[in-house]
């Protein structure tokens, strides 16, 4: 650094002072820094200015001796002195005179504009308009003062004492941030989990609907056709036999029960979802083993009847229908599609109920 005291008087002290401002241009900043580096007096001036700035910032606030808010009386007094326009019967309606002290005129004023003035957030043009309102309308001025007073009072509202401590206990911590399987389960119960509940409802509904579709119609049919005689489980064995065998096995399988009740492996349902009707078999004593002709008359044969015909149509599966020796058709139900529907429905139901169970566990063991 060069001691340039003899030249310091030629240096611009304002440039040194401007170095403290954040908005000094880069060129001015560079020039000032060059001065500081090259002139000891400029450097000393800069150091002094920095110290003074810091000291100014650190000045303690002097307590306000009194409240400077204006009272309504002040507002009225100031209003009377500053708005000394003549109260002519037909006052001038210039821009400056649109505001008067009458309540009817005040009703047309924009109170939101006055309210905005209280938080110093208005643009310059809006602020000017608001200040014009306040300056020309006593009611607007009173409103402004009231709003300022209310804002101050809101800030000064005391807070009731905190009733308790909000620190967390170890139990809270475990509950709120579970570890291991609890953490996995808890994920299902959180408010962010928007998927599991509708998924559980949907799967459960589908499962129930599938089971109903698979079971109820046949149960209704069975009930109506047999007058309350349930198919015995033992009849299931006969279902796997050809129809002719079934009819042979019928005496042991059923006792007054529908023949095709034995067609289902479980004995609990039959495939009649696709069958529009159950066709009573034309009785042929020869077709029914065991010589039980009257059972044949009681036993409707339920099955898929292709095209509504009762003449040995196969309904596509061709598995179990058969033609009775007497030339009449005994249609037995197809067993292949029934378990599929039931299995799928059962699986959906189980998964849906499982999701419900997991959600319950999440709420029970977690804090979802």
């Amino acid at each position: 650094m060069v001691d340039g005291s003899d030249r310091h008087e030629h240096h611009d002290p304002l440039l040194i002072a401007a170095l403290l401002d954040v908005d000094t241009s880069p060129s001015e900043r560079a020039a000032a820094e060059m001065l500081i580096q090259s002139c000891t007096d400029c450097a000393a001036l800069h150091a002094d200015l920095v110290a003074l700035s810091s000291a100014t910032h650190a000045l303690p606030a002097v307590p306000r001796p009194r409240d400077f808010r204006l009272t309504a009386a002040d507002a009225a007094r100031l209003d009377a002195t500053t708005v000394g326009e003549p109260s002519a019967p037909t006052p001038r309606l210039t821009r400056e005179m649109t505001a008067t002290n009458t309540a009817s005129a005040h009703a047309t004023h924009d109170t939101m504009l006055v309210a905005s003035l209280a938080d110093h957030s208005l643009a310059a043009s809006e602020r000017a308009a608001a200040e014009t309102l306040i300056g020309t309308c006593g009611l607007c001025a009173a409103l402004h003062l009231d709003l300022v007073a209310l804002t101050a009072a809101t800030r000064a509202m005391p807070t009731p004492p905190r009733p308790r401590s909000y620190t967390l206990t170890p139990d809270d911590a475990i509950r709120l941030r579970p570890a291991g399987w609890r953490r996995w389960v808890a994920a299902f119960g959180t408010s962010r989990d928007a998927l599991s509940r509708p998924l559980a409802v949907g799967l459960t509904s589908l499962g129930l609907a599938g089971l109903l579709v698979a079971t109820v119609p046949s149960a209704l049919f069975q009930g109506g056709a047999t007058a309350g005689a349930p198919a015995r489980p033992g009849a299931a064995a006969a279902a796997s036999q050809p129809a002719r065998d079934v009819t042979v096995a019928a005496p042991e399988a059923v006792s007054g029960a529908p023949v095709v009740g034995a067609a289902a492996p479980s004995g609990a349902y039959v495939d009649n979802a696709a069958s529009p009707a159950a066709v009573p078999v034309a009785t042929d004593p020869n077709a029914l083993a065991g010589g039980q002709p009257d059972r044949a008359s009681l036993a409707p044969v339920q099955g898929v009847i292709g095209g509504g015909s009762s003449k040995g149509s196969d309904a596509g599966s061709g598995k179990t229908n058969d033609v009775a020796p007497g030339g009449e058709l005994a249609l037995l139900s197809s067993t292949s599609s029934i378990p599929t529907l039931v299995l799928v429905s059962s699986a959906l139901l189980i998964v849906g109920l499982g999701l419900f169970l997991i959600r319950w566990a999440a709420r029970r063991f977690g804090d979802g």
């Binding site: 938080d119 709003l147 804002t151 101050a152 620190t167 967390l168």
Partner: protein, 202 residues
């Protein structure tokens, strides 16, 4: 786990302390989280109790906010821990306000309880104290009667000192809506207190 110190090293010692506590809490240190609770519970209760007029509900709301903060420690993405806690509290308070609409309660019951009075200095003038108490009661009742949104906006702006943009971010509405709520809320307060404004005019 994200190392907060690697991405944000605030100059503010308070923020740095908060971040260290938060990081320790994320690592499972409950004491560190409880240190944060102790640091901010008074301020957060003061915020919430102005937004939720019922003191018990406000207290539950603050507790739930701390629960939520602990549960979602991993969702903190840096910045100010205080602002993050404030945001959680504001959301909890707004949830409570929505629930309160379904189960209305007596607003600010502590103000009707003679056992609680605003704190007064030793040299306080009894007349002045009574006036302050009356002013507080009137203002609190009026605050309880304006809409929840207006009350939240006024508290966040006038009491907490947030700016419009921060309030808009916290409450999920536009900046213009925030302004409107504040200004309409003030006008509503003035309308409700029109007959008692002498209390506030000094």
């Amino acid at each position: 786990m994200e190392d907060l110190r690697s991405t944000t090293v605030p100059d503010d010692p308070v923020q740095r302390r908060d971040l260290i506590l938060l990081e320790r809490a994320r690592d499972g240190d409950l004491d560190a989280f409880n240190d944060l609770v102790v640091l901010y519970q008074d301020q957060l209760f003061a915020l919430v109790v102005r937004m939720v007029p019922d003191r018990d509900q406000a207290s539950d709301c603050v507790q739930e906010a701390f629960f939520s903060a602990y549960r979602n420690l991993t969702s903190f993405r840096g910045g100010s821990v205080k602002s993050w806690l404030n945001r959680i509290c504001v959301n909890a308070a707004m949830d409570t306000q929505r629930a309160r609409k379904r189960r209305p309660v007596q607003p600010y019951p502590e103000l009707d309880d003679e056992s609680w009075q605003p704190p007064a200095g030793i040299e306080a003038d009894p007349e002045r104290t009574a006036l302050d108490s009356e002013r507080t009661r009137a203002l609190a009742n009026a605050l309880a009667r304006i809409t929840d949104d207006q009350r939240a906006a006024i508290v966040l702006y006038d009491v907490e000192g947030y700016d419009y943009a921060e309030i808009a971010d916290m409450t999920g509405v536009s900046l213009g809506t925030v302004k409107s709520r504040i200004h309409r809320g003030r006008l509503a307060l003035r309308s409700l207190l029109e007959d008692r404004m002498e209390l506030f005019r000094g």
